[in-house]
Symmetry: C2
Subunit: 219 residues, 2 copies
């Protein structure tokens, strides 16, 4: 059976970026379909009736939902090249732990940086920087989170990097001066074709966040 | 190397129950250590410095945190018997989706049933029943969530069953009349030694919840 792969996605989504990267790591051809989140397609609602969220990966007509689960699925189905999760069970558990940590903490924390102002924003920035420092400390001096090879945690985190410019602009702070090693890691990831092709331009994301901020924050 | 397995846990935790069941499914001997959550042990803080939460599985001195990750780890390390996750990648992704759904929705939803009162409680009960009906509809007429065999989603959900008596008592409703198939499934799970040995008595949990409710709800 031919592999028909469709990705329902939304271009600034750091979660959609994970799945794009994983598919490209494996060399899987896929049809990218942009969703209008204010007017979701019938296909999206049919394929993800529980959460009604992008990204949705549709493989030969069958949906896989939730980006971290999609990445694991892609790694298991296209296991012939570029392993994403480590083969050792303990290292797999550690990789899953950090992606779960990112899932539980990063989205809400980053949102507060650009969607608040005043004292609330100052507290949010502090909390966000602490989070980044926790991740940076886990990275340590390794080239990638899993060691020498690009993998699951890198894919889990790198999408946020395209949003960094927006955090810095609306939060008025420098992430590089707080977390230089993390920026070095992000630049290293961007040298991979799978990543470079899957991440939108930072300026475009900043413009997008600027529009969102106007909706959420009355200056 | 001998396998030294320690579980830092707290008896009414539906998350700890998952890990206890998984270890027993695999026939792994383990040392159970009860934690006092108001006075966490130095070992817990050392082994799970990020979340500082139980359960923590310590295998030959190395920690694995987060119950769903522990269950996958146990399945991968002790792969010789009673597979927990299905072998097919698509079914694995579906099983992960439902455990992720339980993780994202169930804990907060159930908490509101017993930790609120009046109109808020009525709304919470409605939401909680909808959640259970979503799970029941996924179960359908299968004996277990994965089909004929007890597995990952069953382990992910069954711990909540010991709390059902408390939800019914403090919410004043019957789960069985709303979701009879789900109750049938739970009774089926309880026939397994791994489950029966890992779940505390429902009455004991109800007593525990009664104490919690006194703290959170002023009648």
């Amino acid at each position: 059976m031919a592999n028909e792969v469709i990705l329902l996605d939304f271009w600034p989504s750091m979660f959609g970026m994970r799945t794009r990267i994983a598919l490209r790591e494996k060399g899987v051809e896929f049809e990218y379909r942009e969703e209008d989140l204010r007017n979701k397609s019938p296909l999206l609602l049919q394929m993800n009736p529980i959460h009604k969220k992008i990204p949705v990966l549709i493989h030969n007509g069958k949906p896989v939902c939730e980006s971290s689960i999609q990445v694991q699925y892609i790694d298991e189905v296209w296991s012939h090249k570029n392993p994403i999760l480590p083969s050792d069970p303990y290292q797999r558990a550690q990789a899953r732990f950090w992606v779960d940590f990112i899932d539980k903490k990063m989205y809400d924390a980053q949102r507060k940086v650009w969607a608040t102002k005043g004292e609330e924003q100052e507290a949010s920035k502090k909390e966000f920087i602490e989070l980044l420092k926790t991740l940076e400390s886990e990275l340590g001096d390794k080239p990638y989170f899993g060691g020498d090879d690009f993998g699951y945690v890198d894919i889990g985190l790198i999408g946020f990097y395209t949003w960094f410019g927006a955090y810095e602009k609306f939060g008025n702070f420098s992430i590089e001066s707080e977390c230089p090693k993390l920026i070095g890691w992000a630049k290293r990831c961007l040298q991979r074709e799978s990543v470079a092709k899957s991440l939108p331009e930072s300026e475009k994301v900043t413009e997008f966040v600027s529009e969102l901020r106007k909706k959420f924050v009355v200056e």
